[in-house]
């Protein structure tokens, strides 16, 4: 592999446990260990641990940090309190998506933004270029590593490694300075799988200790390391968007079904607000929908969607979905075909295969 690829502090661990390494967003990352389906099921039924150290942490602080971020982000950041996390996006003036991200609020003047690895340079530049007096933007990614522990047993397993009562961390809240296996970490109840679980951030030096401790504590409970392959099938079943697929420069959050996260009427003006308001007022040209195959075949990213031989859309993610044991996809279709139950066709190589529009998400965990 190319020499410019980056490695996380857990790289050697992955190689030692026979993780299959691939290039992803400029990093050498494990795509699978025992197998995508087995890892996927482990997360749904027990728990799995992911190395997500490639994620990018950008610290935004200063007396004008909130004002600055309100202008940059589409969600209303004033709605969250200290120690709360918010899912949000950055948009271009035309409403297209720069990236989606999580914002961690330490206090009114101090925030941590977690963005996608594949967008590191673009995102950092986008934010840094807008830096003004009263705001400090620092990329802390080189010092911070991250693992995610996801699945119904996540809390039980992680609780063995800390005196902090994890049940007090509610969904989309976090706690700073939690000791996990003796290592100080940020712990948030967040994730990208559709399961309960935690994301754990710490300095590079401490991450291996946490990783090993979680695997040891979870060994008898069926906790396994999980690669990027299952990370994708898990998030896809739960209809969590992936940059470059469901959202991107040419795709706005509204048509992507993320209206809930866009504070169109936010008092502070934000980048893309006018364009998004206009889209909201004029009606969507297309919508992101769920597709389930009727004929045999797997819809894949980029395949055309047809109705009566006319192209009406395109697949953004598609796969065999292990939890459903079905072949399903996400894709954009012209709005008139977005209604549940609509029969359309997917162009799979030379064949036109029947599929129908179904409700999203494909999978929702029982609470």
């Amino acid at each position: 592999m190319s020499d410019n690829l980056k490695r996380t502090p857990l790289y050697q661990s992955h190689v030692d446990t026979e993780g299959k390494i691939v290039e992803f967003g400029g990093w050498e990352m494990p795509v699978q260990y025992s197998g995508v389906i087995a890892e996927h099921q482990a997360v749904r039924n027990q728990a799995g641990i992911f190395d997500v150290s490639h994620m990018v942490e950008i610290r935004v602080s200063g007396e004008d940090a909130l004002k600055f971020l309100q202008k940059l982000l589409v969600n209303d950041l004033s709605e969250i309190e200290d120690n709360q996390v918010q899912y949000t996006m950055m948009c271009y003036p035309d409403g297209g998506v720069v990236d989606d991200l999580l914002v961690y609020r330490y206090n009114e003047d101090d925030y941590l933004l977690v963005v996608n690895a594949s967008n590191t340079d673009k995102d950092y530049k986008w934010i840094k270029d807008k830096e003004e007096q009263g705001v400090r933007v620092v990329n802390q990614s080189d010092e911070i590593a991250e693992v995610a522990l996801q699945g119904p047993l996540a809390e039980e397993v992680l609780q063995e490694l800390t005196d902090f009562d994890l049940s007090t961390i509610k969904y989309f809240w976090f706690e700073d300075s939690v000791e996990i296996a003796g290592v100080e970490a940020i712990v948030s109840r967040t994730g990208y799988t559709g399961e309960d679980g935690f994301e754990i951030y710490t300095a590079n030096e401490g991450i291996e200790k946490i990783w090993n401790a979680i695997l040891d504590a979870g060994q008898d409970k069926g906790v396994v390391p999980v690669g990027l392959g299952a990370r994708d099938t898990l998030r896809f079943e739960a209809n969590l968007p992936l940059y470059g697929h469901e959202i991107g420069k040419e795709k706005n959050p509204l048509e992507a079904g993320l209206r809930y996260f866009v504070a169109l009427d936010k008092e502070e003006e934000f980048i893309g607000q006018d364009a998004l308001k206009e889209i909201e007022a004029n009606g969507y040209q297309r919508k992101l929908v769920g597709l389930e195959m009727i004929d045999r075949g797997i819809p894949r990213d980029g395949y055309d969607l047809l109705k009566d031989d006319e192209k009406i859309g395109v697949v953004t993610t598609g796969s065999y979905a292990p939890t459903l044991d079905k072949n399903v996809g996400l894709g954009y279709v012209k709005t008139e075909y977005a209604e549940e139950g609509t029969e359309i066709e997917v162009q799979i190589r030379r064949r036109k295969c029947k599929a129908k529009v179904v409700a999203l998400p494909f999978y929702r965990r029982e609470k």
Binding site: T233, S319, Y320
Partner: protein, 128 residues
Amino acid sequence: MEILEGLYYSEDHEWVRVEGDKVYVGIADYAQNALGDIVFVEFPMEGEEYEAEESVGVIESVKAVADLYTPVSGEVLEINEDLYDNPQKLNEAPYENWMIAVKLADEEELDDLMTAEEYKKFCEEEEE
């Protein structure tokens, strides 16, 4: 990685078992391992004729789509329909689950394929 004696192998990691003028084609252990969990197969129609190295079908794992090539020319006599419902058998036992059977049109094409020993060497070189 398992390589079975008595079979011919292609550079695309297919195996060929010869029974008279009928040959069975499957994928080698190396191929199933590289693909990962196989969840879908697509076959040619019985009766169709193909040239050696032509794409005759598709094998899909959760993450990847790969072509199935026929290592020899000839008419497709049979397809292994069992794999439609049980594609994971290609992972579990790649040498016990043939994919297509072809009527061998030109016996000399077998000389272009590798023996088990040659294929073993080929795989080792690929790994490097």
